[in-house]
């Protein structure tokens, strides 16, 4: 009898996973802008069409999402202006980027973006805050082999800063990308000017085979002390912060089937979706 109980219990515990067909709700494709301009850096703008979530791409259908024939104009609050040039890039999708070749970001200035595509107009604007003054960059070891990277900055009393952290791990990454918790609101309630660069979690549903990742089964948020990590620490304006916060909060929620995003996502693009971010960045820090 006990053995039978165990069989019943095993049945109970063996919840199963099946692939199912869900019907894609009606979805109208939108113009997507993924753009940023860093202090003392060129503007980078990726343009594409969004797609119905359940649409399957192959090399032919994916081309329909590219926007290679747009006119992208950048205008600075100091009166300077430039039409961006299309370049090919192979590091990630989409494979094309519009860039400035003359104008670079200036802290304290506002930058307006205007995209003309097939008669449609999409606009956005952002500002580049003054870059932060860093006071610390160190690895705090948590074990013989792992640790957390801590950064410090000078923070003025009564001032709210919005931090944006990107990093590139030589061990795991080809490109700079946002950190595990990439945006922070640093107000009077936040610990004085001290933040951690948390490593991205590979153990999410959006990776085909997480076990192949360099940091598979590694303590959450931590880096190997033998890794080389490049960190770009910057500040953004409040509008950009809210957009980035909503995007990355949504990314965190989507990896948890029990969670739901009741707030949707935000955008500072008029006529489309995406983000246009001005970043005042401190000089790139390298560990070790």
């Amino acid at each position: 009898m006990f053995k039978h109980w165990y069989v019943f219990l095993a049945l109970f515990l063996l919840s199963c996973t099946n692939e199912i067909e869900l019907e894609q709700p009606d979805y109208v494709s939108k113009i997507v802008v993924d753009g940023y301009i860093e202090s003392n850096g060129f503007a980078n703008v990726y343009l594409m069409h969004s797609s119905p979530f359940l649409m399957e791409y192959d090399s032919a259908s994916v081309r329909a999402t590219f926007m290679n024939a747009a006119t992208v104009t950048l205008t600075c609050s100091n009166g300077d202006s430039e039409i961006l040039t299309l370049f090919r890039q192979n590091t990630f999708f989409p494979p094309f980027v519009y860039k400035t070749i003359r104008m670079k970001g200036i802290p304290g200035e506002s930058y307006s973006l205007k995209v003309n595509y097939n008669g449609k107009l999409v606009t956005a604007s952002t500002t580049i805050p003054q870059p932060p003054t860093m006071t610390a960059f160190e690895m705090e070891s948590r074990s013989d082999s792992s640790g957390l990277i801590r950064i410090g900055m000078v923070k003025g009393a009564g001032v709210t800063n919005y931090a944006f952290i990107q990093y590139k791990s030589i061990k795991a990454d080809q490109n700079f990308h946002p950190a595990g918790v990439p945006v922070y609101k640093m107000d009077e309630l936040t610990e004085q000017g001290s933040l951690y660069v948390l490593r991205c979690d590979e153990n999410n549903l959006y990776l085909v085979n997480p076990t192949k990742q360099a940091y598979s089964n590694w303590p959450k948020g931590m880096f190997s002390v033998k890794d080389t990590v490049l960190v770009k620490f910057g500040l953004v304006d409040v509008a950009s912060y809210q957009v980035l916060k909503s995007l990355f909060a949504d990314e965190a929620v989507r990896n948890n089937p029990f969670a739901f995003n009741s707030a949707g996502i935000q955008s500072n693009i008029v006529g489309g979706i995406g983000r246009w971010t001005g970043i005042g960045v401190a000089p790139t820090q390298i560990y070790p």
């Binding site: 019907e23 791409y57 590091t91 029990f258 739901f260």
Partner: protein, 695 residues
């Protein structure tokens, strides 16, 4: 929540009108009511009753009859909540139901993450539900009032009863004195999953043994003791205490934590027959619910506690004269809630959040039931006025409220009118209109209701939720066939949705983390019952729609509620060929519930990002399953009663969806990307055997 469980209704008999008071059987003559006639004599549309025999005749789940599983078969109540503690009544949410066990409020009615209800099936005498329209003393929630009444002890049902199930066993003890002055119902139930873990350890090593690292346990103990002080006065003490505890450990993922949740309730009640036409009832009650989590998760130390406590003093007078039955009462209450106390050591940052809310209030109500001289029409009208005062401290930019001071007074009026008409024998028509209010809110932290969901009372910024509901019904009964149809429309105001993705959590109070909006629901329910000799068939169908709108979600566009499931159907067949065997078959079908998943995608810095242009835009596949059971009534040699139950839940092993998620497969170099949807299913075919016997 602030409701009185006692109920008195006018009864029509062939010769006269008699008064039935379900809680005063020992004090006055009781008219035994024929079940088939009952719905004709109730004044309110949307009122159903389930008796013990019906609950026990259903297929058991892991050897346990369950009150909520039986409740979910009633029309207007969603039949499917697998692994989900929520009860969804006519477009309402999980927190819109008032559960009263012997008049004690139970805030968290589930064990084992929603698989079982907290009500011990061996002590339950009957279950009654009012679906949105109820007498004023039973109001307090938007969607339903669910009365779970213990067995009334008498000389015929005394004894010790046990049920041995697969995961848990339960016991009850029922006693009454020879003169009926003393009555007692005791119930105890306990799971023994840890014993199964020990059995598992005989076959597999500790590392693979799920129960070596994860221990689950639940128990409950409830009772009701009555003592008649004199022929006109009776004292009753009722209580419930129940607890779930789950310890889970996974070194690889960095989990080592214990979660526990439960309810405690206590009620002392005095019933007094002041005059032949006047009764007085007074009670002092306490109820609480709590949930907590402590330990290490993902290498972060976490301690979390949430609770709601409530003290109540209730008074009810019922007075009858001629064709009137007048019920009036007053209640006072005190609530204290801490929806969120959390301390966390998160990667070297200490986070501590502490929110505590106190409320005091008073309820006044009065309702009159009138029977026309012809006896063919019953009218009911009532008004319930609730004053709820959140007490300080509150710290707002514009004002500061010190501890114990009244920060705000919410005054709500809940009128109800109802009419039922009996044009001829076997036919009745009913219509009820209510404005309901609710002063506590359930904040769901997840996409499904879980025991960790948080109760928060009304605050200066969280106003009472309200709903108005109109229900109309037509009912027909005869020896050959019973059938009925009910339709309803419901509007809901000040609905709350917890914003789990919020900003400024350090500077915001808990009360600021809600969206406020409105809701709308409509539908109809049809039921049919027919007997063919040893066979009985019950068929229930509900068409129900439910929508919500929140200003800050999709710019206020109306969207389908998560539990908007248009079609809900169940068919129950029972066969009683002889006194030894009875058989039952239950087939359930329900439209899939809705999911809020992204509808579009785009890229940012090489990452796939989501786009939402609809809320709850996806619908899961339909749910259906077939359950069968057989009861073998053994010839009692040592016992008063001995029954072996054989049940199979989900006979054809349907993989029903519990939740769904997307997985994206991509190969950037070849520009290939596909998205596949997956569902998690909880229960495959589930056979069970249980033995119930009475000494």
């Amino acid at each position: 929540m602030l409701s009185w469980g006692s109920r008195t209704t006018l009864q029509e008999t062939s010769d006269s009108i008699a008064v039935r008071d379900t809680l005063h059987r020992t004090l006055r003559e009781v008219q035994v009511e024929d079940e088939n006639q009952r719905s004709f004599r109730s004044t309110f549309a949307g009122n159903d009753l389930l008796k013990t025999a019906e609950i026990r005749s259903l297929p058991t789940f892991l050897g346990e009859s369950d009150v909520l599983r039986a409740l979910r078969l009633l029309p207007g109540i969603q039949s499917v909540s697998e692994g989900n503690s929520g009860v969804y009544v006519r477009g309402g949410s999980a927190g819109h139901n008032l559960f009263l066990l012997d008049e004690m409020e139970i805030l968290n009615p589930s064990h084992l993450m929603g698989l079982f209800s907290v009500f011990n099936p061996l002590t339950v005498g009957n279950l009654e539900v009012f679906k949105g329209n109820a007498p004023v003393q039973l109001q307090g929630r938007l969607a339903s009032t669910i009365l779970v009444n213990s067995i009334a002890p008498d000389s015929t049902n005394n004894g010790l009863e046990l049920n041995l199930g697969t995961l848990s066993s339960s016991a009850s003890l029922i006693r009454s004195s020879a003169d009926g002055r003393f009555t007692m119902v005791l119930g105890y139930r306990r799971s023994y999953l840890e014993a199964l873990g020990w059995v598992a350890s005989l076959f597999i090593n500790d590392k693979k043994n799920y129960f070596h690292n994860n221990q689950y346990f639940f128990e409950d103990f409830n009772g009701k003791i009555g003592y008649r002080l004199n022929p006109k006065m009776k004292l009753t003490l009722s209580w419930y205490t129940g607890q779930d505890r789950f310890h889970f450990k996974d070194d690889g993922l960095g989990y080592n934590a214990t979660s526990d949740w439960g309810n405690q309730s206590l009620l002392l009640k005095l019933d007094r027959n002041v005059r032949p036409d006047l009764n007085y009832h007074t009670s002092l009650g306490f109820t609480s619910t709590h949930s907590g989590l402590s330990g290490d998760m993902l290498d972060n130390s976490l301690n979390f506690l949430s609770y709601l406590e409530q003290y109540q003093w209730k008074n009810l007078w019922d007075y009858r004269r001629d064709n009137h039955l007048l019920q009036s009462g007053a209640e006072v209450f005190l609530q204290e809630a801490m929806p969120l106390r959390m301390s966390m050591f998160y990667n070297a940052n200490n986070v501590l959040k502490l929110q505590r809310y106190s409320n005091a209030g008073m309820v006044l109500f009065s309702g009159d039931q009138y029977r026309s001289p012809s006896g063919k029409t019953l009218l009911y009208g009532g008004l319930r006025v609730t004053m709820n005062a959140p007490l300080g401290p509150y710290a707002y930019a514009e004002t500061q409220v010190t501890a114990g001071k009244i920060a705000k007074v919410w005054l709500t009026a809940s009128p109800v009118i109802s009419i039922s008409h009996f044009p001829r024998s076997g036919i009745s028509l009913k219509a009820s209109l209510s404005l309901n209010e609710q002063n506590v809110h359930l904040s769901s932290l997840s996409s499904i209701p879980l025991p960790f969901d948080l109760w928060v009372p009304t605050t200066p910024r969280l106003r009472p939720e309200t709903a108005d509901q109109l229900t109309c019904g037509y009912y027909s009964t005869s020896d050959a066939l019973d059938w009925s149809v009910e339709g309803y429309v419901k509007g809901m105001q000040h609905q709350l949705l917890f914003n789990v993705v919020t900003d400024n959590t350090n500077s915001m109070g808990f009360e600021d983390q809600f969206f406020s909006g409105k809701g709308f629901a409509y539908g109809f329910d049809a039921t049919m019952k027919k007997n063919w000799g040893i066979y009985t068939a019950k068929l229930r169908y509900s068409y129900a729609r439910s929508f919500r709108s929140f200003d800050k979600i999709m710019d206020g566009d109306w969207f389908r509620d998560k539990y908007d499931r248009p079609h809900d159907f169940n068919l129950q067949l029972t066969c009683t060929p002889n006194a030894v065997w009875d058989f039952s078959l239950l087939w359930t079908y329900a439209s899939g519930c809705n999911l809020n998943l992204p509808t579009g995608r785009w890229w940012m810095s090489g990452l796939i990002m989501n786009d939402y242009d609809q809320f709850n835009g996806f619908r899961l596949p339909a749910y259906h399953r077939l359950d069968v059971s057989a009861n073998w009534h053994l010839k009692p040699r040592f016992f008063k009663e001995s029954v072996l139950n054989f049940s199979i839940v989900n006979l054809y092993n349907r993989a029903n969806p519990y939740f769904a998620y997307f997985r994206v497969y991509m190969d950037e170099n070849r520009y290939h990307l596909s998205v596949k949807s997956y569902q998690i299913s909880l229960f495959p075919i589930m056979p069970s055997v249980s033995w119930r016997f009475k000494i």
